[in-house]
């Protein structure tokens, strides 16, 4: 009987679990890693980015985004939207073509792959015959012209991918008609470019690698005109009125040819090498756009003088007398110019440039061509991300102040709205305001609006101003000397160079109620900052804290402390530092917490931890946790790696000073490092089986710090306390005595050691939580004061939850004795890497919810563990276990969501909650008026024609696992 009853309870619990927990990866934030292709649909107002890992991402208006993944793990080399259709074609590295469509389903669009195709040449033909080098999606929306390496042009009917052999344009057909005087009639080489005549869809220009261009009439199947360019061809552009063709060449020149119809007038009208005299690099793409009244815009990429600026990544924009060479910090993938309405003659509005590390949009209608701030695709990694911190439910007041501070930083950006406006965002407004803070290697902290699908940059804080760094003040890359030629202008914010690695941010803690922010860095610095709406000039008071407490026999072998500016520093509106703690030895800060009500900061390194009173600007106490025999802790963690990095960085800076900002040496160095790592992996692997001992290295490293108002000494009086957990499985508890509020500024705070727990299994302590009488985690500081949480239950007995890498253990308080535990490592061999407390609301009943522990293991699985009973609730695979940096970057929200880095530049967002879910919900429809006037036949309906497709593959847009 008993067994049956229990079974009933379990199934009830199972049902409840289904109402509370559900796992999904919802959206990818940031900039796609290694983009390789760009496409744009003027009719849909969507841009598409293909990546080297085979992903295809579509973006429209903010919030409208789709994601697909090719099954082949091959790079996307070209993306073409079918004109006036919701389909797009991708060409992969493996020469396969893929058809994607945006299909509406239950009022929401989904990106689906609906067909794939590989050219089959005549039997026995070499593979080069069918190797696609150029793709033209014909404006009829029914034809695809595929130029190949062998010089042929294949015509394929889309979206079904049916080869129309009779319409193919073979090399023989073309070369037979080439005028005899075209030098030696040598091989024409591959098809480099295919362009359609904007006013006559029957005419296309075929550009061959050798330079020859042929205007071909699709209807009559013969050449109309030959353009005998003699330089290697890079790109072709047919002007808006169909009267001219522009060609760009590998010697840095471009030519303008007039299209004379039947009588071949093959004189080049104008030829120019814009950065001439000395040998120049190729102009890889050229675009000319008319304006309503005035000279056209000419935009081209490359063409820089080879010797002096051959390594620059430039796009030149020439309009009337204005000529600017936009100088990007990473390689240019592709660009396009956006016009408000393609049919009507009006000025181009924006230049959209996809470079290797970011998307830059230039406003061409505002004087000075400022950059438009991107609402998505923001390079998270403009400096490498070193840590992140998430704060849920930001009060409106703080939110507005952060936005206001951020807006002041955007003065040099364009005021124009985002020019890409496709689709409708149907996602409901986010229920709360969430902030994601990322710490970076260069000492900056970036604030992101993480409430919705778009991770929007709000504000950037730099901590470097507090210190003297070895930055050369003259090393300003933006300085433009008058009359410089080419007229460079630096654009883009991707800047991976950190001037001083010690500035790197390691830990962040923001109190959303008080607006106090603490950040801690690589050189043991802890800055306390306060939000100020005005700019202020102030001196930051530094306090050096000796964590070794005079222990003899230690010599720090790592980096030195940062040098603090002693003179007053002018801080802009926003978060302004007012107090600074510097740990001695200046090791990386490994744990940090803030109690804004008590005005206390606790910090820890591999040597010990301390408590700082930022009201009195005084250190309260220090506890050294270092094992006297642990010499490795004095090496400065990773000091060897650091020194390699340092030397690399210095050489980069040298390179940079010599005006060479090429990303290839970095890639090479990375590749070399990776190869070395791979080699290390190949060494015969064996693992030592040994119990942990107190003599292991880094046992003293402080992993977690926690403030709690709880029962430490007796069960009737609760007192403020500080808890610290170390790598060696020790927990230290200190009882804090705070003076009454009226004497807070003059009476000292005292701390007494109250308890010390040494876990038998000695695994690192990664989390400490005190549970109140109801078994709920204690509220955050000031949370009760702001009436946002019920007060903790101080009547019942409190419990202490210690989370080690191996197990979860609940102890009674005030007398510490083990009550419950949940073993993890002993059971399945996985270890806790990240842990957080989250609240899960039920999807069925509005008022039911429970707190739980969210856990990420080193196997990449996420678990939810119930509180206070510490029982495993659910488990989902989330991150590949080999993806160590992804696992290390994971951060949980207070409502059961999380973020982790899937590449240096992208966060994956996931949700464990059934109630709290942020995912793109959007609809893209073909605009009714967009049907081109040249189109005579009615368009087949997308939904019905899908049945004809030979190959049917469904890849949902949330499929985001890169493999």
């Amino acid at each position: 009987m008993k067994r049956f009853r229990r079974h009933g309870q379990e199934s009830q619990r199972d049902r409840l679990k289904q109402e509370l927990f559900q796992f999904s990866k919802t959206v990818e934030h940031g900039f796609p890693h290694q983009p390789s292709a760009l496409g744009f649909s003027p009719s849909l107002q969507l841009l598409a980015i293909g990546t080297r890992s085979g992903a295809i991402k579509l973006y429209g208006a903010p919030g409208v985004e789709f994601m697909g993944l090719h099954e082949e793990n091959a790079a996307v080399t070209q993306v073409h939207f079918l004109p006036h259709q919701v389909e797009l074609v991708t060409l992969l590295d493996d020469n396969s073509l893929h058809m994607w469509t945006l299909r509406a389903h239950k009022g929401l669009s989904e990106l689906l792959e609906i067909g794939r195709f590989t050219l089959t040449g005549p039997p026995g033909a070499p593979p080069s015959v069918t190797r696609v080098t150029a793709v033209l999606a014909h404006s009829s929306g029914e034809l695809l012209l595929l130029g190949t390496e062998g010089g042929h042009v294949f015509v394929v009917e889309v979206p079904g991918f049916r080869e129309l052999e009779e319409r193919n344009i073979s090399l023989d057909q073309v070369s037979s008609s080439v005028p005899d005087d075209y030098i030696g009639r040598r091989n024409l080489e591959h098809v480099e470019a295919l362009q359609e005549n904007p006013v006559n869809p029957n005419q296309v220009v075929i550009g061959y690698g050798r330079g020859l261009m042929v205007i071909w009439d699709l209807e009559t199947q013969r050449a109309v005109q030959h353009i005998p360019a003699t330089q290697q061809l890079e790109s072709v552009w047919w002007t808006e009125d169909g009267s001219h063709i522009l060609s760009s060449h590998s010697d840095g020149s471009y030519c303008r040819w007039s299209v004379g119809g039947e009588d071949s007038k093959d004189e080049e009208e104008k030829s120019d090498i814009p950065y001439g005299h000395f040998p120049c690099k190729a102009i890889s793409k050229i675009v000319q756009l008319p304006t309503a009244n005035g000279p056209p815009f000419l935009v081209f990429s490359g063409g820089m003088p080879r010797a002096s600026y051959g390594d620059r990544h430039c796009i030149s924009v020439i309009h009337s007398k204005t000529h600017v060479a936009l100088d990007f910090t990473s390689r240019i993938i592709d660009f396009f110019v956006e016009c408000p309405s393609p049919s009507a003659h009006c000025d181009p509005s924006a230049l959209v440039v996809l470079v290797e590390e970011e998307l830059v949009v230039i406003d061409l209608q505002t004087e000075g061509w400022p950059v438009i701030q991107t609402p998505y695709l923001v390079p998270l990694h403009s400096s490498a991300i070193t840590c992140s911190h998430h704060v849920s439910s930001i009060p409106l007041k703080l939110w507005e102040r952060v936005i206001a501070a951020g807006e002041l930083q955007l003065t040099h950006y364009s005021k124009k709205p985002w020019p890409i406006t496709g689709g409708q965002n149907l996602a409901p407004d986010p229920p709360q305001r969430d902030l994601l803070l990322t710490g970076h290697e260069d000492g900056t902290v970036r604030f992101w609006d993480a409430s919705g699908v778009c991770l929007y940059p709000m504000y950037k804080l730099s901590t470097a101003g507090v210190f003297h760094t070895d930055t050369d003040p003259n090393d300003n890359m933006n300085q433009g000397t008058e009359g410089e030629w080419p007229p460079f202008r630096k654009v883009g914010c991707f800047d991976p160079y950190s001037d001083d690695p010690r500035l790197g941010i390691q830990k962040i803690h923001l109190c959303k109620y008080s607006g106090y922010l603490i950040v801690a860095g690589t050189a043991g610095q802890i800055l306390v900052l306060e939000l100020n709406d005005e700019e202020a000039e102030q001196t930051v008071e530094a306090k050096v804290v000796d964590l070794l407490q005079g222990q003899e026999g230690f010599r720090w072998k790592g980096h030195t402390r940062l040098d603090v500016r002693e003179e007053p520093v002018l801080f802009p509106p926003g978060f302004q530092p007012f107090a600074l703690v510097q740990c001695q030895p200046p090791a990386v800060v490994t744990a940090l917490t803030l109690h804004s009500e008590w005005k206390l900061v606790a910090f820890g390194t591999s040597h010990g931890f301390g408590l700082y009173d930022y009201q009195q600007k005084n250190n309260v106490f220090v506890k050294c946790t270092l094992n006297p025999s642990d010499q490795l802790a004095m090496e400065g963690p990773l000091s060897r790696v650091k020194s390699i990095k340092k030397s690399l960085r210095q050489s980069f800076r040298r390179i940079r000073r010599s005006r060479v900002s090429n990303s290839f040496p970095l890639q090479e160095a990375n590749a070399r490092l990776e190869a070395e790592l791979a080699e290390m992996e190949l060494a015969p692997v064996q693992r030592k089986i040994e119990a942990r001992s107190s003599d292991d290295s880094f046992t003293g490293l402080v992993r977690t710090l926690y403030f709690a108002d709880t029962f430490l000494s007796d069960s009737s009086h609760n007192t403020p306390s500080l808890w610290a957990g170390t790598n060696g499985g020790s927990v230290f508890a200190y009882m804090l005595r705070l003076p009454p509020v009226e004497h807070r500024t003059d009476e000292p705070i005292t701390a007494h050691p109250a308890k010390e727990i040494q876990l038998m299994h000695r695994a690192p302590v990664v989390g400490i939580v005190v549970l109140d009488g109801h078994g709920a985690p204690l509220p955050e500081p000031l949370e009760v004061a702001h009436d946002l949480s019920r007060s903790p239950d101080m009547q019942g007995s409190h419990h202490l939850l210690v989370v080690s890498e191996e197990q979860f253990k609940v102890f009674t308080l005030p007398k510490v004795s083990a009550k419950m535990k949940l073993k993890l490592t002993a059971i399945d061999g996985s270890r806790v890497r990240r842990v957080g407390v989250a609240w899960f609301g039920s999807s069925r009943s509005e008022d039911y919810g429970e707190s739980g522990l969210v856990v990420l293991t080193n196997q990449g699985d996420v678990h939810v563990v119930s509180l206070p009973s510490v029982k495993m609730q659910v488990q989902y695979p989330c991150i590949r276990r080999e993806d160590v940096s992804g696992i290390a970057s994971c951060v949980f929200t207070k409502h059961g969501q999380g973020f982790y880095l899937i590449s240096p530049s992208e966060f994956e967002r996931f949700s464990l909650s059934t109630r709290c879910l942020v995912e793109p919900r959007c609809l893209v429809e073909l605009p009714a008026h967009s049907a081109s006037p040249t189109q005579h036949r009615p368009q087949p309906d997308g939904a019905t024609s899908a049945h004809r497709y030979t190959h049917f593959t469904v890849i949902s847009h949330i499929n985001s696992k890169y493999s």
Binding site: P684, V685, Q686, R687, K688, I689, E690, A691, R692, S713, H752, P753, A754, K755, E756, I757, Q758, L759, M760, H761, A763, E806, Q807, K809, K815, V816, S817, A818, K821, K823, T825, A826, I827, D828, G829, S830, R831, N858, Q859, R881
Partner: protein, 379 residues
Amino acid sequence: MNKNHRVPSNRSLSAVEVKSKFGAEFRRFSLDRSKPGRFDEFYGLLQHVHRIPNVELLVGYADVHGDLLPINNDDNYHKAISTASPLLRLFLQRKEEADHLAFGTDSLTRKKNTVLSAVLLRPDPNRKKPPVIISLPKDFRPVSSIIDVDILPETHRRVRLYKHGQEKPLGFYIRDGSSVRVTPQGLEKVPGIFISRMVPGGLAESTGLLAVNDEVLEVNGIEVAGKSLDQVTDMMIANSHNLIITVKPANQRNNIVRSGGGGGGAASGSSGRSSDSGASYYGYSSPGGIGAAASTPSHIIQNFHPEELESDEDDEDLVIEAGGEAELIPCAPSASYSMPSLPRYEPHLNLRTAAAAASSGSLAMERRSLEEDGTVITL
């Protein structure tokens, strides 16, 4: 698990009769069973009654099974007192003449003529210390044991290593490898975890129950199949205080041979054995070939109780409570705290495991000699 086993059972008489022998001399006296006192007091008493105040002694006694066991600390002294029925027979030796090998199973009964006479009756002053001391049985703590022999297939061995608080390292390494299994589809190569190295002097080596190239099948009752090397490493380390590993020994010659259909106790094991017979046959039939042809039985019955696994660790988290002052004052010991000053040992040992540990020692010696030629190459 409460460790206060010090109070002897009340069913016995209050006085213990003691017969102490040193060389050829006997002394008889009695002790209060309920108040045995401490070992050092007892040691002083022995020196006093034998009138050898400055002689370093090694104290041994004969337990109920006739084994000669040492008395050298409070715990085994109390054990000796509490188990004496009714006579406690003591054998004293000079420390410098002591023969450590004498202690152990059957040492009094079977080898009476050799060991006892040599040690106790005619102590030879010229006799040198034995050249090799395998391990000095300092107390009754078990070091290792083979368990669940009755339910495991013959080709497998479940070894329990007792780490406790002792200094000796566990001392072995594991690696990735592959083993061949017999499946309905034929032979299949599957990844496995193997012991790759033993640390000389480590616990694992000293037991002799584990050897290089043994395939690890389970850790504390959990199958390792499908787990990575790092996962298995972490599992072993997490269980290091009481590690139970089930291996398929590379050397299958020392397997425990059970008399087929003998006792009723084998009933539970027979099913496991028959299901695995193919594998064990294969294991034998491939000398020097693909050795560890292990097929893990799909169902694994465990004899050890889960509480047993949990037992020692739970209350051994060390808690230091401080008073109002800054100094750390250890609080009064209570049942749930174990203090650092107390020797950590396992009082709830049962004689079964102790005997197994002792017997495994002799078994180990045999094995080591066999290991030389008995290694099987594993892919």
